[in-house]
Symmetry: C2
Amino acid sequence: MSIRLGIMGYGNLGRGVECAVKQNPDMELKAVFTRRDPGSLRLLDPSVPVISASEAGKMADEIDVLILCGGSATDLPEQSPKYASVFNIVDSFDTHANIPQHFEKVDMAARAAGKTAVISAGWDPGMFSVNRAYASAILADGADYTFWGRGVSQGHSDAIRRIEGVADARQYTVPIDAAVESVSSGERPVLTARQKHTRECYVVAKEGADIERIEREIKTMPNYFADYDTTVHFISAEEMKRDHSGMPHGGSVIRTGSTGINGENTHVIKYSLKLDSNPEFTSCILVAVARAAWKLHNEGKTGCHTMLDIPPAYMSALSPEELRRSLL
Amino acid sequence: MSIRLGIMGYGNLGRGVECAVKQNPDMELKAVFTRRDPGSLRLLDPSVPVISASEAGKMADEIDVLILCGGSATDLPEQSPKYASVFNIVDSFDTHANIPQHFEKVDMAARAAGKTAVISAGWDPGMFSVNRAYASAILADGADYTFWGRGVSQGHSDAIRRIEGVADARQYTVPIDAAVESVSSGERPVLTARQKHTRECYVVAKEGADIERIEREIKTMPNYFADYDTTVHFISAEEMKRDHSGMPHGGSVIRTGSTGINGENTHVIKYSLKLDSNPEFTSCILVAVARAAWKLHNEGKTGCHTMLDIPPAYMSALSPEELRRSLL
């Protein structure tokens, strides 16, 4: 019997989940829930029912795992605990600093209801976290480095859009080759933010806007840009649409460490991603994690989990025997 | 209280485990067991007792996990089931084709004794398997590639040493850059063995040996060399000692796959290792897996496991709370 999934929220991530389910024959999409008018949504597969979020509870018996596809700023802090008391859930909560608090809230709700939750699934947090955990467990004497990009940062793009006179903006986070090469070679440099990444901004200015002021406001913005070498390119709305409508991303997690009686041997562990579509890749992870959540639930493992708590085999559609035979 | 480890077999791997334990303050080495004369072994830490393998059973209550550091050809098929009925064990059994059968034997022994075993820990099988499992679960529509090297293959070196007239030999497996680049770019080429790796051989010939015959025998050896572009270099015993006494290795596991409604987006997941010392790195993994085995045992999870069955967090010395806070 296939695993019956629901999607809560039909933006880029929700659409990505719909696509990913089609690539996994052991999965079935039972419903998409939305806070918008259900009639206004056009799914890729029109045979899947679209239901108002307020009616979701009525589907509790027909959905094995609900994948929450909302944002971390306002949607998930409220939705994840709420739905974890009705469904097994998976979310992609990615505000790193607030994960412990989010975990506690979801854990309490899921435990009370006998449900299973997995939070912060995706690639960072998610697969990057998993790789940081493995690498630091293996190389006890070592140092970790994470590089992001080249890719679009939604948060930084939004920050530029809030500046007066900006009609649209796209920000690329770009890792600095020399830093990646130094770390990949086994050195353990101490790197500032500026030495690890640059920031490339593409901005459409409103007619008559003071572009010198906009550029200055971007480059001096604390936290977002002031600590980086930032370049600003003013382009037309047409160029923005033509050249910057994709959502590529990626990055790498690198740990270097030493072994031997005098630390004489150096090792480099590197995990890297090159993604044409950040939301579609994240969606694929959410679907594999939903499979794991269902296995955990069937073992009676209720409460909140993260990908660090999930055996790799649980994410696979293959049986343990097949995995041992085919890819161990 | 620290986890009390034993080492069975004190070769390169056993010495690596002794080094690795020193880097992990939650671990303690209680004894080294050997089939040789215990008095003939010189440990890095002379305060650790060396005990005859035949006496190992007497230490059952003093060792939480026994790490088996023997070879896959003859040691582990006999030792792993035998010791799994007395100790919690970890081994690095790496004869891929025989893993299912080894698993069954160890599982039966461990279950009957209420012990926990983890087999085939290391990097391949091991971390490479873990990465194949994650990547194939995430990118359902994709293709896997594994490249090994540049590194010393013990099996291929041994095969050359068995040729008449060969005094010593070292074989390096070398991945072909063009193939790695093609795969890393997101293409899905179909590659023969010859298109993925070359084989570089360094040979010390005995005095008066027919080096043309040796070179021909190497290059035409079925399974080992005939399907590859192989180069043979004859060197002196001094050069062998000076330039080829290290045991570097590494490689990469790459999966490329497509997502989107028409498979229009391509993604590349790549895990790669660059190791100065293959046995020392493998030893570090064995120690982290021993930690996981002890956690599994304390949860009542007896029988045989592989790294595919182990949550990443179990390999870490950090608590789940610390992991969520510091590296999720």
